[in-house]
Point group: C2
Chain length 374, copies 2
C-alpha cells in the first residue's frame, strides 16, 4: 500500500464529564497535526457512535477546520478504525494526499449509554447486549476448550499491568487474579474487571501519501469486513470467524505471517475477546489462546506483546475513539516513543478492532491493519 501515517495524537482516556467533546477532540487533533508537521488536511473522517448528529462539524469547526469534506462514520465498536480505514483507502486510491482520521466519544454525556434496542429487536429486548453475547462466548469457550476462569481473569491482570506504563490509560493498577475474580459479577463468568469501562476520549491520525516527517510509519495493509450470519449452531464462538477472515486478508495484503508481528493492539472489550482474537489472528491455534497467555509471550517482555497500552480493558473503551487509540499506540511503539511500555525493537505491528452487538451476525465490522516502520 502507498499510505503513510504522518502523525498521531490522543486525549487522556477516562471518565471526564467535566470536558466537552470539543476539548477531547482538540487534544487529539492538535497533537496529531503537530506530530505530523502539517497545518491543513483535505478531508476529515470521524468515527463516532453516540453522536449527536453534527458533532463532528462542531468540534472541527471549533479548531478552524472548515469547508473540507467532513464525514462521520459509524460502525459500532469499530467506528474509529473504520474512519482510519476510509482515510487510508482514500490516500491509497489517489483521492487525497493528506487526510485526518479522528475518533471521538464522550460516553458520559447526556444521551450516551446502553444501545437501546428497537421495538422489533426481540433478542436485544430480551437482554442480548454485548456483555451477554461475550459472556455466552466465554461460557461456550470454557466448556469446549477447558479454559479456567483464572486463565480468563489473567487477561485483565496482564492488561492492567501494561497500563501502568501508559499515563493516558483510564485504569492503571497491579491486580491479582483474585481481585479480578472477586469483583462484581456483570454477566457470568465475566466480572466487572473483565469488562471494558465507559470512557471519554479522542484519538487521531494524519494519513498521507509520502513518508511522514516525524512518524515514519507505512500502512502495509488495511482490511474492513462485516460478518456473516451467526447463531449458536455456528462452528466457532461469536466473532472468531470474522476476525480470522479479516486478519487473514490483511496479512495476505501485507505479505506477513502472524509470527512476524512484533506488537499488537487487539479488541479486548472483555477478557474472552483477547483470547479469541489472538487465536483468530493466528498467534495461537484455536483453543490454545490461554496457553499463549500463560507462556508470557503476549505480555510486555515477551516476544509478541498484545495490548501494551492496556487495551480496552484498562486504557478504556471510548467506542468511536478506540480504533484510533489502537493506531496511535502502534505508531508510538514502532517509533520507539512508547516510554515505559515500549516493546524493544518493534518494527511491524497490527491493530484489530471488532464491532459487534447485533444478534444473529458474527460481528458488524472487523478492521485489521498492519503497520511497519519506514
Amino acid at each position: 500500500m502507498s499510505a503513510f501515517i504522518y502523525g498521531v495524537g490522543t486525549s487522556q482516556f477516562g471518565k471526564q464529564p467535566e470536558l466537552r467533546a470539543e476539548d477531547l477532540a482538540a487534544s487529539a487533533v492538535l497533537e496529531a497535526l503537530e506530530d505530523a508537521g502539517v497545518a491543513d488536511v483535505e478531508a476529515v473522517l470521524v468515527g463516532s457512535v453516540f453522536g449527536p448528529p453534527g458533532l463532528s462539524q462542531r468540534v472541527l469547526h471549533a479548531l478552524g477546520i472548515t469547508r473540507v469534506p467532513i464525514l462521520t462514520v459509524e460502525n459500532t465498536c469499530a467506528s474509529g478504525t473504520s474512519a482510519y480505514h476510509e482515510a487510508v483507502m482514500g490516500v491509497e486510491n489517489g483521492r487525497w494526499d493528506c487526510v485526518l482520521a479522528l475518533g471521538l466519544e464522550k460516553m458520559t454525556a447526556t444521551g450516551s449509554g446502553p444501545i437501546e434496542p428497537e421495538p422489533t429487536d426481540a433478542e436485544g429486548r430480551a437482554g442480548m447486549a454485548l456483555p451477554a453475547i461475550y459472556a455466552m462466548s466465554a461460557t461456550r469457550y470454557l466448556a469446549c476448550f477447558g479454559l479456567t476462569e483464572r486463565q480468563l481473569a489473567a487477561v485483565s491482570v496482564k492488561n492492567h499491568r501494561h497500563a501502568i506504563g501508559n499515563p493516558r490509560a483510564q485504569y492503571r493498577a497491579e491486580l491479582s487474579v483474585e481481585d479480578v475474580l472477586g469483583s462484581r459479577m456483570i454477566a457470568d463468568p465475566l466480572t466487572l474487571l473483565q469488562c471494558c469501562p465507559i470512557s471519554d476520549a479522542a484519538a487521531a491520525a494524519v494519513v498521507g501519501r509520502q513518508r511522514g516527517k516525524r512518524a515514519d510509519v507505512r500502512v502495509r495493509a488495511s482490511v474492513l469486513q462485516s460478518g456473516d450470519l451467526w447463531d449458536y449452531r455456528s462452528e466457532h464462538v461469536w466473532g472468531y470467524e470474522l476476525t480470522r477472515s479479516t486478519g487473514a486478508a490483511a496479512f495476505a495484503q501485507a505479505g506477513v505471517q502472524p509470527q512476524d508481528l512484533d506488537v499488537l493492539e487487539v479488541h479486548d472489550a472483555f477478557t474472552i475477546s483477547e483470547i479469541v482474537a489472538t487465536e483468530a489472528l493466528g498467534l495461537a491455534a484455536e483453543g490454545h489462546g490461554a496457553e499463549l497467555l500463560d507462556s508470557g509471550r503476549t505480555a510486555l517482555g515477551g516476544t509478541q506483546p498484545v495490548n501494551p497500552s492496556g487495551g480496552l480493558l484498562s486504557r478504556g473503551h471510548p467506542v468511536g475513539a478506540t480504533g484510533l487509540g489502537q493506531i496511535a499506540e502502534i505508531v508510538w511503539q514502532l517509533g520507539g516513543r512508547a516510554g515505559a511500555r515500549q516493546v524493544e525493537g518493534a518494527r511491524i505491528g497490527a491493530v484489530e478492532t471488532l464491532g459487534g452487538g447485533t444478534a444473529g451476525i458474527d460481528g458488524n465490522a472487523c478492521v485489521v491493519s498492519v503497520l511497519e516502520v519506514g
Copy 2:
C-alpha cells in the same frame, strides 16, 4: 467523472410505524438491485442519522448482504447524499466496480425524534433547533428582500401539487396559500405546512463503473463540502454560502451552467430553504428567488422544475434517506420513468442536500450532484 447509476429504488415515504427498518430497507434495496440488474455489490454505504448503532448490518444481513464492507455515514440531513457521494468517489477512484448506497431512516421508532443538544451546547439548549434557524433565515430574508409570507407559502403549494403525481410521496394535496398560512404556527413565520414532516423511508442507488443496463445515467459531478463559521453578522442568510460554494464547484466539475439543468431536487426542508437554494444554485440572483417561483419556471410545466417529487415538504424527510430519494427521483426523471410528474425531455438534472443544525456553522454538509442521461 466515470461513475454511472445502474439502478435506484425506494420504499413508500410516510409515517409507517408498523414497518420495521428491515422492511423499508428491503423495499429500496431489492428494487435498486432489480433496476440495476445486478446481484452482488462490493460494498455498501449507508446514510442514517438516528441509528441505532449496527442498524445497517442488521438490515443488510437480513437481505443476505454479508462479508462486504458496510459503512454507516452520518452527515445530518445530508447523510443520504453523503453515502451516495462516497459510493461515487469509490467508483471514480477505482476502489470499487459496483457499490450500493442506501439511505434509511425510521423516525417513528423509539429513540428517534428531536436531536438532543449536549449539556454544553448553550444555543441548542436555548431552542436553536432547525425550525428556529430556518425561521430566523426567513425573517431576515423577508426583511431584506421584500418577500411576502404569501410568496413563501407558495413554495409549499407548488411542492404539494407536484407530489400529487408521486404515489410514494407522504402528502399529496392541492393546497391553497390560505391553507398553508392558516396551518398551525411552528416557528414564526413558518407554519406547519411550511415544515417538512417526520417520515420513515429508505432509498437506494447502485453505482458502478460501466454504463448501466437499465438506468443509463452518468454522474457528471458530485461535491461534498462542510460549512464555514457563520453568525448573524454573516453576509447571507444561513446555508446560502455553503450551498453556493458547493453548487459552483459541482457545476464547474460537470461543465454545466445552472440554466443547463432540466430538473432539480433541492433541500426544501422548509419553504424558505427552496427560495434560498434556488438562488444559491444560480437559478435566480440573490433576493430574486420569489420572482423565479412566481414566474412558474420551477413548477412542473415550467422550463426548470424544482422538486417534481414533492420535495422534503411533501414527499417527506426521512433524514438519512432523503438524499438518495432525491437521486432516485432525478434518475427516474432522466429515464422518462417519472409518470404523472415527468419533466418532458429532461436530460440533465441536479440534486442538492443541505445538512444543518449546528449553531455557528453555515451548514454541516452540502452535497450537490449533477446527473445526465447516457
